[in-house]
């Protein structure tokens, strides 16, 4: 156990590419956590996806032993937190485990919009913020200007900001000294009943579920019987330790410390982020504040391209779920796509990550249906059924219109930070998506605008559009603000007069026609010409609101068949058949897989 005064818990806040990972690597190196040989670039982002996208998905923590200029050896816990709104809750728990943060700003780029949201969150947790101006050895570096920006825009004192170049190893010791001197040590009572906050958990194939815990009061040691106060389950701790970043076992973790435990837990679902860990005997009376059960908010269907891969998909999803309790899945069958799963996610990025991991780590070819949200529908009584409430997360299950009394959809409050040159386009985007503006303020050359938006308009490529119209400079943050009634209808897409279930959508009546037209136009280009003409229609109930026609194919024949070489013709036919096998058939029309995916990606990239 480490004395409270010798512990510092902190996170790093930075815009992508401002050098967070490089700085973290240098800090680890400086404290001897890894030898040069063991350093791979960017130690903390473990997953391929994290490295490629430069984002952090799972919280990570590293304990660094640093002998400071005052001669004392400190335990510094560096917490790397996810940086995306989809994981806002995880972020808030990680931040709650720290007392301070390093704010890393690029000496040439200055403060970026994305940084602001994270800084404000950190400030809300009463963190001590230490500004670090990185890349000072760049020719374009203007540290004084950046200092002024930090003071202007964020409103914190930057006069003693640490100047570094993580890449060249400049100023690393100064950063460590600043952490020791300026970030306050944690508080806690070793003799009080155990209260540990569950910061994160993941599945390790050798250890089972590993739990990252910040001890507030009391001590966790091997052999202790613990209880999850929210989850209600009890477990025997069989291992206690920390990451340096190598895993090392420790006899115990005391107040103020961050470390890991294992307790023979098989599923991460049992170890929920934000839960309070206490002892079975003489446990704490009151759980730590801030626990929330995370609910999936975005849903979509995942289907194997090759129907034979269904079992593989089932196994792969189950395995992923072992490590990520925040997504849900249940079996679904579609006339077009066969058997698959309806999955729920924390947000669109979460959806993309899961989808990408399935295709990458499990080598699966997937079709993803249009993302949708959960609607609450009040149904009137029918002859056979009482009036009831229905939570709808698959447009295919849309009930009989005549029974619907009302439909409510989830709304969010979105906060967007953007350089003001893009503000006009962003306001238009929000307006087009049925947004209601609730605030607009200017800070420096940047604007902060708040909107209330229906979530179903946001899951529909909003984020991609925002990024594209602001050239990636706008940042977007949201929180859910509950359900509101809306004039929502189910829009069917009919190909050759047959509805294609995988393409149906729930939309607001006011945007249905535009959405329908876009979909029909897109499908017209995506479905190859057939031997007959194919009408493509968007319809609400029996009413067609948009229509396109694919003209019949008129010519497809090999002119010359030479010298009795039939084998070649046969290969052509086999190739044609193979192509068809990758299509789905609807009313005699073969729709290529790509069409499903591309049709749902509305708006230009």
């Amino acid at each position: 156990m480490t004395e409270l005064s010798l512990i510092r818990n902190f996170s790093i806040i930075a815009h992508i590419d401002h050098g967070k990972s490089t700085l973290a690597d240098r800090l680890i190196q400086a404290c001897g956590g890894l030898t040069d040989r063991e350093m791979s670039e960017q130690v903390l982002d473990n997953m391929d996806i994290e490295r490629e996208r430069g984002i952090t998905i799972k919280a990570q923590t590293v304990r660094l032993n640093y002998t400071a200029r005052d001669g004392k050896t400190y335990a510094l816990n560096l917490m790397d937190t996810p940086g995306h709104v989809d994981f806002a809750y995880e972020v808030s728990r990680s931040l709650a485990a720290c007392e301070g943060a390093l704010l890393v700003v690029d000496a040439a780029q200055g403060v970026e919009a994305q940084t602001l949201a994270n800084v404000y969150q950190s400030i809300e947790h009463d963190h001590e913020i230490v500004p670090v101006i990185n890349k000072i050895d760049l020719p374009a570096a203007e540290p004084e200007k950046v200092k002024a920006e930090i003071e202007d825009i964020i409103g914190i004192d930057a006069s003693d900001a640490v100047l570094t170049s993580a890449k060249s190893g400049i100023g690393i010791e100064e950063v460590l000294e600043a952490v020791v001197a300026r970030i306050p040590p944690p508080k806690g009572d070793r003799d009080a009943p155990l209260r540990g906050m569950l910061v994160d958990s993941w599945y390790d194939p050798y250890l089972g579920v590993v739990i990252l815990v910040r001890v507030i009061d009391g001590v966790i040691r091997k052999g202790l019987n613990i209880r999850f106060m929210q989850g209600g389950t009890e477990h025997l701790v069989d291992r206690v330790g920390a990451f340096t970043p190598k895993r090392v076992d420790l006899p115990e973790i005391g107040p103020g410390e961050i470390g890991f435990i294992t307790a023979q837990i098989k599923e991460v679902e049992q170890a929920r982020v934000g839960d309070t860990i206490t002892t079975v005997k003489n446990g704490a009376a009151q759980a730590l504040p801030g626990y929330k059960e995370v609910q999936p908010v975005v849903f979509c269907g995942l289907f194997p391209v090759d129907a034979a891969d269904f079992e593989k998909l089932r196994e792969s999803i189950a395995k992923l779920r072992l490590n990520d309790a925040s997504f849900s899945y249940e079996m679904e069958s579609s006339a077009a796509l066969g058997f698959g799963f309806r999955c729920g996610f924390l947000g669109l990025l979460h959806l993309e990550i899961i989808q990408e991991r399935l295709s990458r780590e499990y080598d699966l070819d997937l079709i993803t249906t249009a993302p949708s949200v959960v609607y609450r529908i009040q149904l009137a009584a029918s002859r056979t059924e009482d009036a009831r409430e229905l939570y709808l997360h698959n447009p295919a299950d849309y009930p009989d219109v005549n029974r619907i009394l009302s439909i409510e959809e989830p709304w969010i409050k979105a906060t967007i930070y953007t350089p003001d040159e893009y503000l006009g386009s962003i306001l238009k985007l929000c307006q087009d998506r049925r947004g209601i503006q609730t605030g607009l303020t200017y800070v420096g050359g940047r604007a902060q605008v708040s909107y209330e938006l229906p979530l179903n308009e946001v899951v529909f490529d909003f984020y991609d559009r925002l990024k594209s119209i602001s050239r990636g400079y706008a940042s977007f943050d949201y929180e859910q603000i509950g359900l509101r009634e809306g004039d929502l209808v189910k829009m069917n897409i009919l190909v050759n007069n047959e509805p294609v279930d995988a393409l149906s959508l729930i939309v607001h009546r006011s945007v249905a026609e535009e959405r329908g037209r876009g979909m029909c136009e897109r499908l017209k280009d995506l479905i190859p010409r057939h031997l007959f003409k194919i009408p493509i229609q968007a319809a609400i109930g029996g009413k067609v609101i948009a229509r396109e026609t694919i003209a019949a194919l008129r010519k497809d024949v090999t002119a010359k068949c030479y010298g009795g070489d039939i084998t070649r013709k046969k290969k052509l036919l086999e190739k044609q058949k193979k192509g068809k096998a990758r299509m789905r058939e609807y009313g005699n029309v073969s729709i290529p897989q790509e069409a499903f995916i591309a049709a749902l990606r509305m708006g230009e990239p």
Binding site: K555, V557, Y562
Partner: protein
């Protein structure tokens, strides 16, 4: 058994940019060695599958008009000695219209050729250049005149649907073609084949093909004008006066047996598919080492035979004689056909079906490949190597 013999001559003076056939350009060709190799291959083919008499012989290529007429004569007399020739045997040779080749017509006729198929390709100077042909318009005309004067039966090839060509251009070119009064015309719509220079040009956007709808118009116009001129379209790209169809090519389309000799030649005899080595040097080496040019000899399963018979037969205006196929292949014939889709295509007016015959309508002809993809259940190949 097989009553048709195909002999492939693999050499050309230059490679045409649209052509993906087995043709090769070589600085010199050892004529004596090639004559001997083809004779050896011919004897082997007769030894394993001989039974005559032959009803047709076809010299294709490459450019078989570059063969020394003495080689043509030697091959024909050997074939006659081995198999025998039926009465009125059809012996075709493909010829390019260069002046040198035209001068050999007399000798070729003396060697036994009684039908000439001339690779004219265009009756338009600029188009001949575009198609990379070695001959000009004057040579083409001279060759046609010489052929018509010399041979009893003459056919020639034209390529249409060329970049920049209009329907009117083509109609005019066709009427010039009809003026020669030949009994047979092969009119091929230009297609871009992988691996050709045109494929590269098309990919780079240098060569812009007519859009598919215009191509359909070209196809329909071609068949209409040919029919009006008394040349009935009897296959996708072939037109003839009644009774003047290419007997040799009908053998392929009716899925009857044929021998194939020479580099890259294919054959079908008694349910066995044969393929010769394509590359001239490999072919010669194979002849030296094993006394024949066969690279692959494979027994086809019945389902494959049926698929092949349908692929070939539906190219013909007469369509497929299902009765005859059932007698050869039994229930596999109906097993290979998707009757639900056939019914759908019938209602679309693309296909006709009686109990003994299956054929495409005039409307269905330009859509043959798509129709085949719909109605033929194609079995994956199971290989049995002989």
């Amino acid at each position: 058994m097989a009553q048709a013999l195909y002999i492939h001559w693999p050499f050309c003076l230059s490679k045409c940019p649209y052509c993906d056939f087995n043709s090769h350009v070589r600085d010199r060709v050892d004529q004596a060695a090639w004559a001997e190799a083809l004779l050896t291959d011919l004897r082997h083919e007769h030894a394993v599958g001989g039974q005559g008499p032959l009803r047709s012989v076809f010299f294709g290529g490459g450019t078989p008009s570059l063969m020394p007429p003495s080689t043509v004569a030697a091959l024909l007399s050997e074939a006659e000695r081995l198999w025998g020739f039926a009465e009125r045997v059809e012996i075709t040779l493909e010829a390019n219209p260069s002046s040198v080749e035209t001068r050999a017509f007399a000798e070729l006729e003396a060697a036994g050729i009684n039908r000439l198929s001339a690779g004219i390709q265009a009756l338009d100077e600029a188009a001949l250049r575009l198609l990379g042909r070695a001959h000009g318009l004057a040579e083409a005309r001279a060759a046609l005149d010489a052929a018509c004067a010399r041979f009893e039966r003459v056919s020639f090839d034209l390529i249409y649907g060329r970049p920049g060509q209009t329907l009117d251009d083509w109609a005019a070119e066709l009427s010039a073609a009809f003026a020669y009064g030949t009994e047979h015309l092969s009119l091929y719509q230009l297609t871009i084949e992988p691996g050709t220079r045109f494929a590269t040009d098309a990919r780079r956007g240098v060569l812009v093909m007519p859009d598919p709808d215009l191509q359909a118009d070209f196809f329909a116009l071609t068949r209409q004008l040919a029919a009006d001129a008394g040349l009935r379209p009897y296959e996708i790209s072939n037109h003839a006066r009644a009774g003047c169809e290419s007997r040799h090519n009908l053998t392929y389309w009716r899925y009857e047996d044929y021998h194939g000799v020479g580099p890259g030649a294919h054959g079908r005899r008694g349910g066995v598919a044969t393929a010769r080595h394509r590359k001239p040097e490999n072919y010669l080496a194979a002849i030296r080492n094993s006394g024949h040019g066969i690279q692959e000899e494979r027994r086809l399963i019945i389902d494959e035979c049926v698929t092949e018979a349908l692929l070939m037969g539906l190219r013909l205006t007469e369509g497929v004689d299902l009765g005859r196929l059932r007698r050869r292949f039994g229930a596999a014939v109906d097993g290979a056909l998707d009757h639900r889709r056939m019914a759908h295509l019938q209602t679309l007016g693309l296909l006709r079906h009686t109990c003994d015959r299956l054929w495409l309508t005039e409307q269905g002809m330009p859509l043959l490949d798509a129709v085949l993809g719909e109605i033929v259940r194609c079995e994956p190949q199971r290989t049995v190597t002989a």
